[in-house]
């Protein structure tokens, strides 16, 4: 069960600044718990973005990305009302897609 992302796409001129906050532990696999056991690695490995269904950005991440990851990029040719969808896949195969409307 995953928590929703927070996606904001702000249009200015012919571009939209897209800011994404994802809810994810991004556990590196380097930490140990109170009992001394290694806490298993659990982190987002792949991220992709679509603009009105068309893929515009893909990314691969390592566990160095901070917990509750933030990402910002600038999308050309975006207009108010356009749909921006973000998908993440983590190392356990868990997946999540959320969508926002550019405003």
């Amino acid at each position: 069960m995953t928590d929703p992302m927070r996606i904001r796409a702000q249009v200015a001129g012919d571009k939209a600044t897209v800011r994404v906050l994802m809810a994810h532990e991004m556990e590196t696999g380097q930490r140990k718990d109170a009992a001394g056991k290694v806490i298993p690695a659990w982190f987002i490995q792949e991220v992709s973005a679509t603009h009105n269904g068309k893929p515009v950005l893909s990314a691969q991440w390592g566990p160095s990305i901070s917990k509750n990851p933030f990402m910002q990029f600038s999308l050309k040719g975006a207009k108010v009302g356009d749909k921006i969808a973000i998908t993440w896949v983590d190392n356990k195969g868990e997946k999540r897609t959320d969508e926002a409307t550019a405003s």
């Binding site: 691969q60 990305i65 901070s66 933030f70 990029f73 600038s74 040719g77």
Partner: protein, 155 residues
């Protein structure tokens, strides 16, 4: 002041980091679909030095790495990678002193500007690199030192 020796050393470092990524342009296409575990498991800069398939990275004023001089906490350090050039195939962010040096690899289409930010964990004060791999195979980088502090009552 950047002596030639320093510049070469920096280039070598970035080359080393890219080695683990195995980012020769010809390899990059084949790997596009699957997660590049080897790249993200490269333990340190020395390990990343092996298997350099890409061109020797060159320091470039056209690449910028945006990061604070000092981070109040290493858990969340904002870092941006940008390249003021056309034909950017990939933008990478690397943290020299992290156990896994490669933090992120972005592949923007033509619809996305080559200017992407995220937040990374820094285990300690370290150089942070932004690397741009161009369609024509050129590899360019910029670096910045980020100091990490331990604040407050110790946690």
């Amino acid at each position: 002041m950047h002596t030639r020796r320093h510049m070469l050393s920096d280039s070598a470092k970035v080359a080393a980091l890219l080695a683990a990524v195995g980012l020769a342009p010809q390899l990059a296409k084949a790997q596009a679909a699957s997660y590049n575990s080897a790249a993200f498991e490269a333990k340190n800069m020395a390990d990343a030095m092996k298997a350099l398939g890409a061109a020797v990275p060159v320091a470039s004023k056209d690449v910028t790495v945006t990061a604070p001089d000092i981070a109040e906490n290493g858990a969340v350090v904002p870092v941006g990678a940008a390249a003021a050039l056309p034909g950017v195939k990939r933008l990478l962010i690397l943290v020299e002193k992290n156990p896994a040096a490669l933090a992120a690899m972005f592949e923007p289409s033509d619809a996305v500007e080559a200017n992407i930010s995220t937040r990374v964990k820094l285990g300690q004060s370290s150089n942070v690199f932004a690397v741009a791999i161009l369609n024509d195979g050129k590899v360019l980088f910029a670096q910045k030192e980020v100091k990490v502090t331990l604040g407050g009552c110790g946690g």
